[in-house]
Amino acid sequence: MMTRRQILVGSSGGLAAGAAWAFAPTWNVSAPGAGGDLALFLFDRSVHGALLPGRALARRGVAVRSFHGDVGVPWLEVLEPMWRRGPRPVAGITDGGALFCLEQLAWRHGMACALRLALPVARSGRSEDAADMLLRAAGQPPGSGLRPSTDMARGPVAWLFQPVGGNGR
């Protein structure tokens, strides 16, 4: 059952999940949720600097999946089936274009982007520092008034999707 806000922007939903494709390399170290509040870390292997935060998060028990280029693949096989069962925080590192696509799609499942970090992370200059920041942010309550962005980030970006606060009437 979609909520009123989920209908505003978004797509797909309402159908059962199918077989999964492989997204190597993937580190599904432990059950989802073992890495604190983060249900999944998703990264694009073609984005420079995405691998190290992925490894760091896998070591800390976060389920990690990767893909190459087309964000439609993890959307179809991982994210949409997961969010259809209920909103859960998901972080990732992709290009800005992929994040834009995910924002458009996630809204219908009550999810919105709560954090965007241009990579490499400012000050430290280290992409792997994004892992700590994403984990910390995932433990925070989502802000209110989250909406999909209409602007596309350029270059690699670390992001966090959180359930939309104050959803529905």
């Binding site: 009123r4 199918g18 959307w75 179809l76 290009d95 696509c101 809204w107 909406r147």
Partner: protein, 546 residues
């Protein structure tokens, strides 16, 4: 908030009350932050007074609620603008053609009503996306392929009604032609079914298209004559195999012959998948070629070579011939696809090679061969829509081009239909380059067209949309000029963002705009109050015509 010029705030309030009564208050959206979500993220008029924006949105859950909303619109004169998934980015998004219209958001109508493997057909509602349909077919265990356009998040109904195209066999990749039967809420609120669906209890709604009497389905594509609430589609049975072959020609002057042979092979049913054209020498990607779609691997542009491809004179041809010798790369390639039993596709490839051998020095590459289901390794590398799998790769990469220095946030397409000849490809490239130069804009690399349609080609050129008004103005002006200049040569656009629809409709002017006047006559007859998508595809109701 903006309202149409002839809708007062009192009329608007009455309409909202009617919508709330029809669908429940939680499905009527009026707050600024909610309505803003219906802005077109790719609008070339972003934040300018001319940007098309909605006044509100209403999301019905079923056909009866759609009918009720349409009746409310008639009673209050507030125009409604139906959208399916609302993600037709690059051609309009979910923003209405007339600012102040209320978006009629059909995303809640998201049921796949039937998957019929024996008939190779489906029946869907407008809120179903290609991702949804793919999953529903897979879950049903049906060996059917979904012919997907570039946006996997799009709606089969929305894409077909906009006359979009895909990537598999010709009879499926023309999405409107692949439909079979519609259910339509007319602007009066009346419900109609077309084809065999007009017969109560029809057993062949998704099996026989025309029904009895005039075949009216086309009236509901690229128009504003009704709200399509169900649509049947014929699906492609999963083939035993797919073979993708490439042939390579070395001389610049070979392109016309290459295309002539390719077209004949396709029209003869030998090549039954979507063909592609490319230039290895230019390192341009072959349409629908998976290996070259990743911009991270792109190399710089050889400007002298680009200039030579545009010029095409003797000096240019000599330079191109030298580069072919130096690099060992051919000037052109054609990609041909075959779907069917393994024995047949291998035979079709042999026949195709024989036909192409008429071109002097032509070379055939080793073909790619795929059986199904695809292996994980193949899935990771292939162009997914070629295999009936939805994708978003264009929206990942579409904004990044090495000849566009602007900070692009989206794209807009100039998409004229030109003859399926090499000569037309040369001429159109030269015209586009000339116009862009004159407008002071970067000239894109010489490009080759998509071959979605069987007897014409679409010379799609993608332009950036930015958040800088002056840059957007320049590109709008260039596109407007291109529309006009193309029309002078007999090339018309197949589809366009809403802001150019009046201009494009104006170029279809035979008989002193007889076609537009016909559209207006139909519009006034079906929608006397002018409440359904005023201005969509350049069709304005009487109340909005000057």
């Amino acid at each position: 908030m903006r309202l149409p010029h002839d809708v007062t705030p009192e009329m608007f309030d009455r309409a909202l009350k009617g919508f709330r009564d029809a669908v429940g208050p939680e499905w009527v959206f009026t707050s600024d932050e909610d309505v803003a979500l219906y802005r077109d993220a790719y609008s070339p008029f972003w934040d300018e007074p001319e940007e098309r924006v909605a006044s509100a949105a209403v999301a019905p859950a079923n056909v009866e609620q759609v009918q009720a909303c349409v009746r409310v619109a008639n009673q209050t004169s507030l125009p409604v603008y139906p959208i399916s998934t609302g993600k037709n980015l690059g051609y309009g998004g979910s923003a209405p053609a007339l600012s102040g219209s209320c978006v009629l958001d059909l995303k809640r109508m998201d049921r796949v009503l039937d998957v019929d493997e024996a008939n190779a057909s489906v029946l869907v509602e407008p809120g179903v996306s290609y991702f949804d349909l793919y999953r529903a077919v897979r879950d049903a265990g049906a060996k059917l392929w979904v012919d997907c356009p570039d946006p996997g998040w799009g709606s089969p109904i929305g894409n077909a009604l906009d006359r979009g195209g895909g990537y598999t066999r010709a009879q499926f990749r023309n999405h409107f032609d692949a439909h079979c039967g519609m259910e339509v809420v007319l602007p009066t609120g009346e419900l109609m079914r077309t084809g065999m669906g007009a017969m109560p209890g029809a057993r062949t709604w998704q099996q026989y298209k025309p029904g009895f009497g005039p075949w009216v389905d086309g009236l509901f594509s690229q128009s504003n004559f009704g709200v399509v609430t169900k649509m049947g589609f014929w699906m492609m049975p999963e083939p035993e195999a797919c073979l993708i072959g490439r042939v390579y020609a070395n001389r610049y002057e070979d392109l016309p012959a290459l295309l002539r042979i390719l077209t004949h092979l396709e029209n003869s049913g030998i090549v039954n998948g979507m063909p592609g054209l490319g230039s290895p020498l230019l390192q341009r990607r072959v349409p629908a070629d998976p290996q070259a779609s990743d911009p991270y691997g792109a190399t710089g542009i050889d400007q002298a070579l680009q200039d030579a491809f545009y010029a095409g004179d003797d000096k240019a041809r000599a330079l191109i011939a030298d580069r072919v010798k130096q690099t060992g790369r051919s000037c052109w390639n054609a990609l041909v696809k075959f779907y069917g039993p393994e024995k047949l596709v291998r035979l079709q490839w042999e026949i195709a090679k024989e036909a192409f051998a008429d071109i002097e020095g032509l070379r055939a590459g080793d073909p790619e061969f795929y059986g199904f289901p695809l292996s994980d390794e193949d899935l990771a590398k292939v162009h997914k829509p070629t295999f009936g799998i939805p994708s978003l790769s264009v929206f990942n990469f579409g904004i990044r081009t090495d000849h566009q220095p602007e900070l692009a946030v989206g794209h807009q397409a100039f998409s004229p239909v030109i003859p399926r000849t090499g000569e037309a490809i040369f001429e159109s490239n030269r015209l586009f380059a000339q116009v862009l130069k004159e407008e002071g804009l970067p000239v894109p690399p010489f490009h080759l067209p998509g071959c979605v349609w069987e007897r014409a080609i679409m010379m799609i050129t993608i332009f950036p949309v930015t958040r800088d008004a002056e840059t957007n103005r320049k590109y709008r002006k260039a596109i407007q000029r291109l529309v006009v200049e193309a029309a002078r040569r007999g090339w018309g656009e197949y589809r366009t963002p809403v802001i150019y629809q009046d201009l494009v409709m104006g170029t279809y002017s035979f008989g002193d705009h007889a076609l537009r006047r016909f559209h207006e006559t139909v519009k006034d007859a079906l929608d006397p109050n002018g409440i359904l998508s005023p201005g969509r595809y350049g069709i304005w109701p009487r109340r909005n015509r000057g």
